[in-house]
C-alpha cells in the first residue's frame, strides 16, 4: 500500500533538528555552545512555519496509524510555540548550568514525542509518542544531576510515570482484546456496535487512570508538586505545559474517537474527576509558600478545568479544551519564566522573596500578575473566555460542575492575590533593579500580549480552533 511520507515531514524535520543540535554540540568548542539555544529557537520556528503550511491538510499514513488533520496540526503548533518560549526563557539558566547540547536536544525530542502523540491514530503510535516524551522528560527533570533535589524528583517521576504507563498499557491491551483492533477510529466503530462488557469498563478506567496521571488530575496528582518543585524550573514549565497539553490531545482522541459508544458510562466519572481536581488543586494551593509548588497546584486545578470540556465529548467540548489549553500554555509559561529568571538572580523560590518585585522589575511583576489572573479567569484576560467556552458546554446537564468551577476559580483569586500582594505592596529587602535579559524579555512580553489579546479579542483564535475541532470528526 503506497503512502505519502510527505505527511510526516514536520516530524522528520524535528527529529533532524534534534540530531543536528546533538551533533553540533559534540563537535563545537565549549565557548560556542551558547549559540545552540538560538539554533534550537530558529530551527523550531522553521518547523512551526512548516507546520502552518500543513494547516488544512487532511490525511493519514500507514492505514490510519498516523493521522494528519487540523486537530493534530493545531496541537503541534501549540507544542512548538511552547518549546520556543521555553528555550528562550531558559537560555541563561542553561548557560549557567552547562550541558547545553543534551538539554536542547532532549527538549526537541520531547517536543517530537508530543507531536507524535497529537497525530497518533493507533495505540502503538500513541504509546511510542508518549514514551518518547516521558523518557525525555525524565532526563530533563534530573538534569541538575549533582543536586539531590533534582535527582530525587527524577526518580519519583520515572517510577510513577512508568507505573502509570503500565496501567495505561494494560487498559489498551484489554480494549485491543475486546475489539480486535488498535486503530482508534476503528475501535470506535466496533465499540459503538457491540454491547458493553465489564472488561471494557475496566479498560476505560485504566485508561483514565493512566492519562489522569499524565495530566495530573486528582487523585493521580501526587507526583506533580514534588516533581515540579525538584525539577529545573524551565523543565517544570515545559512539563506543566507540554506534557499536559500532549496528554490532553491524546486523551481527547482516545475518549472522543474510540469510546463515544459508551459515553454514558464514563461521562459522569470524568465530570466528578474534573470537579474533584478543581476543588483539591485550588484548595491545596492556598497554604503553599513556594512559588513552584503554588504553580504546580494551580496547574492541577487548570487540568480540572480542561477536563470539563471532555465531559460532553462533543465538538464544542473539544473546541473548549483546545482553546483553553492554548491560552493555558501562555499563562503558565509566563509565570514559570518569571520564576526561572527570578531564581537565576536570587536563587530563591520562596514567595516571600518576591517582595517588592514590582519595583525591582515592573515587567516581571506584571507578567506574573497577568498570568495568574488569566488562570483565575478574570476578564479581560484569556482565561475568562476559555472558561466561558468550557462551561457553556456543560451548564445544561452538569450545573453543579459549573458552580464548582466558577466559584472555585474565584477562590483561586485568593492565593494568586497573595502573590500579587507580596510583589506590589511589600518593600523589597534588596532593592537593586533586576535587569531582564532580552530572550527572557521576549518570552515575557509575548506571553503577556497573547494572554491580553486573546482575552480582549478572541474571535480569530476561536475560528482556528473551530476548524481544528471540526477536522477531528472527519477521519
Amino acid at each position: 500500500m503506497p503512502f505519502d511520507t510527505s505527511l510526516l515531514s514536520i516530524e522528520m524535520l524535528t527529529a533532524a533538528l534534534g540530531l543536528a543540535v546533538l551533533i553540533l554540540g559534540i563537535i563545537s568548542p565549549a565557548s560556542a555552545k551558547k549559540g545552540l539555544g538560538w539554533i534550537t529557537v530558529i530551527g523550531l520556528l522553521g518547523v512551526s512555519g512548516a507546520a502552518i503550511g500543513f494547516w488544512g491538510t487532511q490525511g493519514s499514513v500507514y492505514s490510519g496509524m498516523y493521522l494528519v488533520d487540523n486537530y493534530a496540526t493545531f496541537w503541534k503548533l501549540t507544542f512548538l510555540v511552547a518549546a520556543v518560549l521555553v528555550v528562550l526563557g531558559s537560555m541563561r539558566y542553561v548557560d549557567n548550568l552547562g550541558g547545553q547540547t543534551e538539554y536542547y536536544s532532549t527538549l526537541i525530542f520531547a517536543t517530537l514525542g508530543m507531536m507524535v502523540m497529537a497525530s497518533a491514530g493507533d495505540f502503538i503510535t500513541l504509546f511510542m509518542g508518549l514514551e518518547l516524551m516521558t523518557i525525555s522528560f525524565i532526563i530533563l527533570v534530573c538534569f541538575r544531576k549533582n543536586e539531590s533535589k533534582s535527582v530525587e524528583a527524577g526518580i519519583k517521576y520515572i517510577l510513577l510515570a512508568s507505573m502509570s504507563s503500565a496501567v495505561l498499557l494494560y487498559g489498551l491491551s484489554l480494549i485491543y482484546g475486546l475489539t480486535g483492533s488498535i486503530n482508534i477510529y476503528e475501535v470506535g466503530r466496533i465499540v459503538a456496535m457491540n454491547p458493553v462488557s465489564p472488561a471494557l469498563i475496566l479498560g476505560v478506567v485504566m485508561l483514565l487512570a493512566g492519562f489522569g496521571f499524565k495530566i495530573s488530575a486528582v487523585p493521580f496528582h501526587m507526583w506533580s508538586p514534588d516533581v515540579y518543585e525538584g525539577a529545573p524550573t524551565p523543565v517544570t514549565a515545559f512539563l506543566a505545559v507540554g506534557s499536559k497539553a500532549a496528554s490532553l490531545a491524546i486523551l481527547l482522541r482516545v475518549f472522543v474517537a474510540a469510546l463515544p459508544g459508551i459515553w454514558e458510562h464514563w461521562a459522569m466519572v470524568v465530570a466528578i474527576l474534573a470537579g474533584v481536581t478543581i476543588i483539591v488543586g485550588n484548595l491545596v494551593a492556598i497554604p503553599q509558600d513556594n512559588i513552584k509548588r503554588l504553580l504546580a497546584y494551580s496547574s492541577i486545578a487548570q487540568a480540572g478545568y480542561i477536563l470539563v470540556g471532555l465531559v460532553t465529548a462533543t465538538e464544542a467540548g473539544i473546541k473548549g479544551v483546545m482553546f483553553y489549553a492554548f491560552l493555558y500554555v501562555f499563562a503558565t509559561l509566563g509565570a514559570f519564566t518569571v520564576a526561572t529568571y527570578f531564581y537565576n538572580i536570587t536563587g530563591s523560590d520562596k514567595i516571600k522573596d518576591y517582595a517588592g518585585l514590582s519595583q525591582r522589575s515592573p515587567l516581571m511583576a506584571v507578567v506574573m500578575l497577568v498570568a495568574m489572573l488569566s488562570m483565575a479567569g478574570i476578564p479581560p484576560l484569556a482565561g475568562f473566555v476559555g472558561k466561558f467556552y468550557l462551561f457553556t458546554t456543560i451548564v445544561d446537564n452538569y450545573l453543579w460542575l459549573a458552580f464548582i468551577g466558577l466559584i472555585m476559580s474565584m477562590v483561586s483569586v485568593y492565593y494568586y492575590l497573595r502573590v500579587a500582594l507580596v510583589m506590589y505592596r511589600d518593600e523589597p529587602a534588596d532593592s537593586t533593579p533586576i535587569k531582564v535579559s532580552s530572550p527572557v524579555a521576549i518570552t515575557l512580553v509575548v506571553t503577556m500580549l497573547v494572554t491580553l489579546i486573546i482575552g480582549v479579542y478572541p474571535g480569530p483564535l476561536s475560528e482556528v480552533v473551530n476548524a481544528a475541532a471540526h477536522s477531528f470528526f472527519l477521519q
Binding site: 495505540f123 502503538i124 504509546f127 511510542m128 514514551e131 523518557i135 525524565i138 532526563i139 534530573c142 544531576k145 549533582n146 539531590s148 533535589k149 535527582v151 530525587e152 524528583a153 527524577g154 526518580i155 519519583k156 520515572i158 517510577l159 512508568s162 507505573m163 504507563s165 503500565a166 496501567v167 498499557l169 494494560y170 491491551s173 484489554l174 485491543y176 482484546g177 480486535g180 483492533s181 488498535i182 508538586p225 514534588d226 518543585e229 525538584g230
Partner: protein, 104 residues
C-alpha cells in the same frame, strides 16, 4: 484433558499485573520497584500476545505491539538505573523512604 484457553492467559496476566502493582506500591527499594514495573509491563505483553493469537490470528498486531513495549521498557529501565546510580552517589542509598528532600 486440560486445554489452555484465552482465559488462562488473561488470568495469568491479571495476576502478574496485580503482583507488580502491589510491589510498586509496597517495596522500599528503588530497584525492586523498577522490577515490579517490569512485571506489570510483562503482564501487558502476555495479554497482547494472547489476544493476538486468539482474537486476531491472521494479523500480527499484538506481537508488534509487544515488541514495541519490550523495546521501550528497556529504554525506560536504562534511564531508571542511571538515575538510581546518580542518587546512590548523592545519598549512598537506594531506599525510597530516605528520599525525603521533597514531600513524597
Amino acid at each position: 484433558m486440560l486445554t489452555i484457553s484465552l482465559t488462562h492467559y488473561v488470568v495469568l496476566s491479571a495476576i502478574l499485573f496485580s503482583i507488580g502493582l502491589f510491589g510498586v506500591l509496597s517495596k522500599k527499594n528503588a530497584i525492586s520497584v523498577l522490577i515490579c514495573i517490569e512485571l506489570m509491563l510483562n503482564a501487558v505483553n502476555i495479554n497482547l500476545i494472547a489476544f493476538s493469537k486468539y482474537i486476531t490470528p491472521n494479523e500480527f498486531i499484538g506481537q508488534i505491539f509487544a515488541i514495541f513495549v519490550i523495546t521501550v521498557a528497556a529504554a525506560e529501565v536504562g534511564v531508571g538505573l542511571a538515575i538510581i546510580i546518580a542518587i546512590y552517589r548523592n545519598k549512598l542509598s537506594v531506599n525510597l523512604d530516605e528520599f525525603d528532600w521533597l514531600k513524597w
